[in-house]
Symmetry: C2
Subunit: 359 residues, 2 copies
């Protein structure tokens, strides 16, 4: 790999994070919230890549609705680096769009595909893994997925089963992927958690742009002509029209289902850094201070005789809690959520039929 080749970080930032209602809203999406630390999740994501890519090589793929907010939040990036998708089509078209634009800039470029709302406390360990992934992708022309060594039998993540080990110059163990597994029921998760060589699918990838474009050509041939039009028009007058056109024809599908589960050149790196996708108040609050009775608290709160609660007060004023166990309370300026801890996934249901102003 020549040092001067482009290594681009592609941040997928199109979601709303409905499970973080009432803090998250259409115009206040999860990645623009300071859920895990002092900074927004998007800023934490960008900061995590300092030293790996220069700011001008960080791209953010988001929705038309959020593009303005995200440009404001990432003012240090060149304006063109925030790329609005014409509409949401899941992760495969999103990756394909970024790959096409980057390939046009540099056919030897590498793309690091990450989400804007994951929590990884140890940035140095993360970067070391990504550097190994780049080396692996470069040398072996594999599509690299980052697997995370499971810390408990999580049912909210997909899993990846590693196979034959791949020799390469990096320190992180690399394997060919033998199988992708969907989010499992608890009994299966408990089994997987104990099985060596099985990892959480962290939804983070490192690809040579030309390799992933080849994979799209093979596995999504019906939209490949339109994808090639993006390459041809990238950086030119016709770029936006080509993108619009691609999204008119492309299938709505995840990169896992569209490509990774089908291709035979997929590798997994066995990452051991701490990671979670901050999918709910339960996982988000695991980073908040704990009070000795199992309560996770953020903001101005007074608790009496309560344990194992999650209380987040995101607005001026007080939350008082008395005599509760395993209850989640989240307060913002215009709404309050009070929810049994084992029902946090049902917040999405609450939003159904809710007045637009609360969504």
């Amino acid at each position: 790999m020549k040092k001067e080749n482009l290594i681009a970080v592609c941040v997928m930032a199109g979601g709303i994070g409905e499970r973080f209602w009432p803090l998250s809203r259409t115009m206040r999406p999860k990645q623009l919230l300071a859920i895990t630390g002092e900074r927004t999740m998007l800023r934490e994501t960008i900061a995590r890549h300092a030293g790996l890519s220069k700011p001008e090589d960080v791209y953010i793929i988001t929705t038309k609705e959020q593009a303005g907010l995200i440009e404001k939040e990432t003012a240090e990036l060149p304006k063109g680096n925030v790329i609005p998708e014409p509409c949401g089509r899941n992760t495969a078209p999103c990756v394909a769009l970024a790959a096409a634009l980057l390939y046009a800039k540099d056919p030897e470029s590498v793309m690091v595909v990450v989400s804007s709302d994951h929590h990884i406390p140890d940035s140095a360990a993360y970067r070391a893994t990504i550097e190994d992934a780049i080396a692996l992708a470069r040398q072996e022309h594999v599509l690299v997925t980052i697997g995370v060594v499971p810390r408990y039998p999580e049912t909210g993540y997909g899993y990846i089963k590693g196979g034959e080990e791949i020799a390469y110059p990096g320190k992180t163990k690399a394997m060919k992927v033998s199988r992708f597994l969907e989010k499992p029921p608890l009994a299966v998760a408990e089994e997987l958690y104990k099985t060596p060589g099985v990892f959480w699918n962290a939804g983070m990838f490192v690809f040579n742009t030309k390799d992933i474009l080849s994979a799209f050509e093979r596995f999504m041939p019906e939209s490949n002509p339109e994808l090639k039009e993006i390459v041809r028009n990238a950086g030119k007058e016709g770029e936006r029209a080509a993108i619009e056109n691609y999204y008119r024809v492309v299938t709505k599908i995840s990169i896992d289902n569209a490509v990774l589960e089908k291709a035979d050149n997929v590798a997994v790196l066995a990452a051991s850094f701490q990671w979670n996708d901050v999918g709910s108040w339960t996982s988000a609050s695991s980073h908040w201070p704990e009070d000795g009775d199992g309560n996770r608290l953020k903001g101005e709160i007074k608790l009496l005789e309560s344990e194992d609660c999650i209380v987040g007060n995101y607005h001026e004023g007080l939350v008082g809690v008395i005599g509760l166990k395993d209850v989640v309370v989240i307060r913002t300026g215009d709404a309050v959520l009070v929810c049994a801890k084992d029902k946090v996934q049902d917040v999405k249901k609450l939003l159904n039929g809710l007045d637009e102003k609360y969504r």
Copy 2:
């Protein structure tokens, strides 16, 4: 009783109602809140006496802090009818003060002493009982307490045991009081509830002012000279100084403990109207609409899979509740209370040590 004699309604309105936090505050006391209906509890109390006394014969005894708020709330009353106590000294001095001022206006006057924060849905039944109480006090020169036939074994109320029946022209059964009983433990309450002739002590009284002043002379002799000074100065320049002076010397004690438990001319009327003292969110919410799953709801709320909850949303915006049972949620503009239903009495504890702005 001559028709023209003064029948005054004396509303005791000095409390804050801490158990209604966060809705109640020092400067937004319970009696100025619309807890049970559309109107504030004070307005409901005054409306209940329409037809019994003219507005100019309704007096409100309150604190110095609340006097301004209460005057605003009761603008139809003559301004002098809102009487601020120099300091809180429980109910005996409050009744004595009102009795002294009324006696000075009319030595044959009758006073109806009520609280500003009780809920009585049937005003007509209430007035009929009070008219009987006035007749009884007039004819027998007894100090009349209103007893309410218990509807369940409440542990938050005191009880009154009736004795020998008193014959008088009214329809409501009247008895001499045989005993006052403090708030009982549950086992005792269950016993009392089943005992005929035992009533809830509703804290409402009807006295001839001269009879209650005689009782104060006998049972609180140490402050009686100062009380007589109020009578002497009532309506004159020295009135306020006399009141201040009385409160400097008088004992802090309830009318029950000071007089009624000691006097031998105390009667109880067996009232059968529905009554509660709206002492907590549990009792207050019993007047809110019920949703079919036992939830009592007030304001903009969305519930999922929840039962037997009490949710009061007193501010613009939404409260979402998921998967809870027997939880109380109260939201105001600057605070939220989330409390196990069997801990609503502990709200007072929560207020201890709380920043002044939240009290």
